[in-house]
Structure formats: C-alpha cells, structure tokens
Chain length 208, copies 2
C-alpha cells in the first residue's frame, strides 16, 4: 500500500525546490546531483530513493508540475462585455493575472527551465507548453467574440486582435525574464503594457 508519508513528501519537495532553483539559475547540465544534495543537507544516496531515474526524473517532475501550476493558475473570470472601456479593463485584469503568475518564484523558475532546456523536452512536454499558450489564446478569443457586432470588427479579425494583444503580453515578459535576466518583474513594465493595450484597444475597437 503506497501512501505518501508526510516525511517522504517533505524530503521529496526539498529536493525539487533545491533543484528548481539550481536548474533555473545555473542550467540543468551545469547542476550536479552533489550540489542538490548539499543544498538539501542530505546524503549522496538519498536522491535516488526518491528519484530512481536520477537527475532527468527531477527535471521531468519540475517541468510537469510547473506547467500544471501555471495552467491551474489561469482563471480569467471574464464576464460579458458592455463597453470598449470595459473590454480594456478586463484585458488588463487578464494581463495582471499572468503577471502575478510569473511573479511567483516557483513559476518563474519552472518557466525559465522549460524555455532554457526546451531542446531536452519530449514531444509530449513540448505540447504541454504549446497547449498552455493556445488555451490562453482561446480564452481571449471566446471573451471577445460575442462583442464583435458592437465593435466594428469582423468576426475574422478577432484572432488577429488577440494575437496582437498576446504579443504585447509575451514580449514584455520575455524581454524582462529572458533578455534582461531579471527575476523580479518590474511594475514599470506592467504600466507600459497597460498603456500599449489602451492605445490598441481604443484605436481598433469602435463602439457602435
């Protein structure tokens, strides 16, 4: 009868947490199992008790749990649209939620690992990553589509508008995390995206 004892789960998480930080900051290959053991104050053999397949199994677990965590955190709670200003506000809230997700250290780490070790991912793992982005995209499309008539926009243009908005979101985060290597998301950037979104929404959407 396999039951996750509290003690075992604790140690397993200690290993995962240490590995997540090390993989994110130094990279998967550059991190040694010895370093993980040192950081968890545990002996050489113990790691293989919890992860019989070694380092790669730890990576896989981090990738999986990271996607799970980020997916579960997405919960936009859109309500039906009234005005252009209302649309803008709801899109801002959505961006804020994404921003909050990446501001959490565990999510930040697992995202960085997923991108950085992208070449190591199995097809299945890569699909998780792509599906998460697709899901966000679809949620935004479903949110905007009912309002098409009011907004002087062709139904066909909605995906296009959504892609533009997503580009703003993505670029701001990628720039900050991948190019500037900042672990802490800067509020200034969030404001920049807000004003970009304002310009886009008020220019493209026209209340009728």
């Amino acid at each position: 009868m396999k039951k996750d004892g509290a003690k075992g789960e604790l140690q397993k998480n200690k290993i995962l947490n240490a590995a997540r930080e090390l993989f994110a900051t130094k990279g998967f290959e550059a991190t040694t199992t010895r370093e993980i053991n040192r950081q968890t104050d545990s002996a050489e053999g113990l790691l293989y008790y919890y992860f019989p397949h070694g380092k790669r199994e730890i990576l896989d677990t981090i990738i999986y749990e990271g996607i799970q965590s980020r997916t579960n955190a997405i919960d936009f709670k859109f309500h039906s649209v009234s005005s252009v200003a209302d649309i803008e506000q709801q899109l801002l809230n959505a961006f804020d939620q994404i921003w909050q997700i990446f501001s959490q250290q565990e999510n930040y780490y697992s995202f960085m690992i997923t991108i950085r070790e992208r070449a190591l991912l199995s097809n299945k793992q890569a699909k998780w990553l792509q599906d998460l982005i697709k899901e966000v995209r679809q949620l935004l499309i479903d949110f905007l589509t009912p309002a098409t008539e009011k907004l002087g926009l062709q139904q066909d243009n909605i995906p296009q508008l959504v892609d533009i908005i997503l580009s703003l979101f993505q670029s701001s985060i990628y720039d900050e995390l991948l190019i500037n290597n900042n672990q802490e998301l800067n509020n200034q950037i969030s404001h920049t995206v807000q004003s970009q979104l304002h310009l886009i929404v008020t220019s493209i959407l026209v209340e009728k």
Copy 2:
C-alpha cells in the same frame, strides 16, 4: 609578427562552426570538447591550440561574433515618409530584414545560444544583447518621428507605437524559435505579422 595564416583560420572556423551547432542544439554544458573534436575530425589537443582557455573561450567567441554579425546585418535603409501605406511598406521591409537575419543558420544558432546560456553571460555580453535591441528600437523611432504631424499622433506616442510593433516582431520570432523549437522560420508566420502590422498601422495612424 602574428598573422592569421589561412590554414589556422580555417581550422579555427571549423571548430567555431561545429561548436556553434552543438551549443545551439544540445546546450553549452551538455556539449563536450570531445564531440567538437570528433565533428571537426581533429585530435584532442588541437582545440587548446586555438582556444587556450578551452570551451568557455569558444562560447565567448561565438557570442561576440554572433552579436557582431546580427548588428552588422541591421541596415534598414529607411527613406523619408510620404503616406501611411508607405510607412507600412517600409516597416514591412524592416521586419523582412530581421526575418532574413534569423533565417541564416549561423545567426539562428548564435541567437539561440545567447538566449539559452543567458545566465552565463558577463555583464558586458548582456549589454551587447540589450544594446542591439535598443538600436533597432531607436532606428524605428527615428524613422517615424519626422512624420508625426501628418499622422495625427503625439510625438510622445511614437516610442509606444514602436514598442508595439517591436513586440509583434519579437513575439513571432521567439514563439517560433523558443517555444516551437523550429529551426526554419515559417513563411506563414511572416504573413501573420504582415497582417497584424497592417491592422495596427491603419488603425493608429491617420493621414491628415
């Protein structure tokens, strides 16, 4: 009198080319010097004749040459603006140039390495990366600024518009290279960016 003999340069480039491909596809740490030697059909010791400081020196050279190459390739040749349609066309040409740069395998490899091994970069190397993006941004600002009056746009809004346009460019490339892990840039994506740019430019800019 140190003079780069043709033979020496050849071998040095063979090493750099092999390492560039391996670092980009497997990662820096995961690539062994043995593998580089095998791929260049040369013996164990030779690598250290050309790169006395070993693997890290090879990485630094690739990073440096990559930034140089991508920087030199940026040459937008904007001419002064007449109409909104003209602006759109010139921006499209700029995007096309960026697209072409990333379509070249060497540039693609060095870019992937630079992003993937971002955490290993020195401050100086990181600054090169940031400055390249800033330079592109500034070129676009300088291109659009003279046309401000004609376009019903505040001078202050130009950087904002440029950032939006750059987000479209960046996202399309990052998505393709980092998320989807495609080595070949897909023309479909280029068309998507074109139509996004069209929507943005025609919505935000108004001829007077």
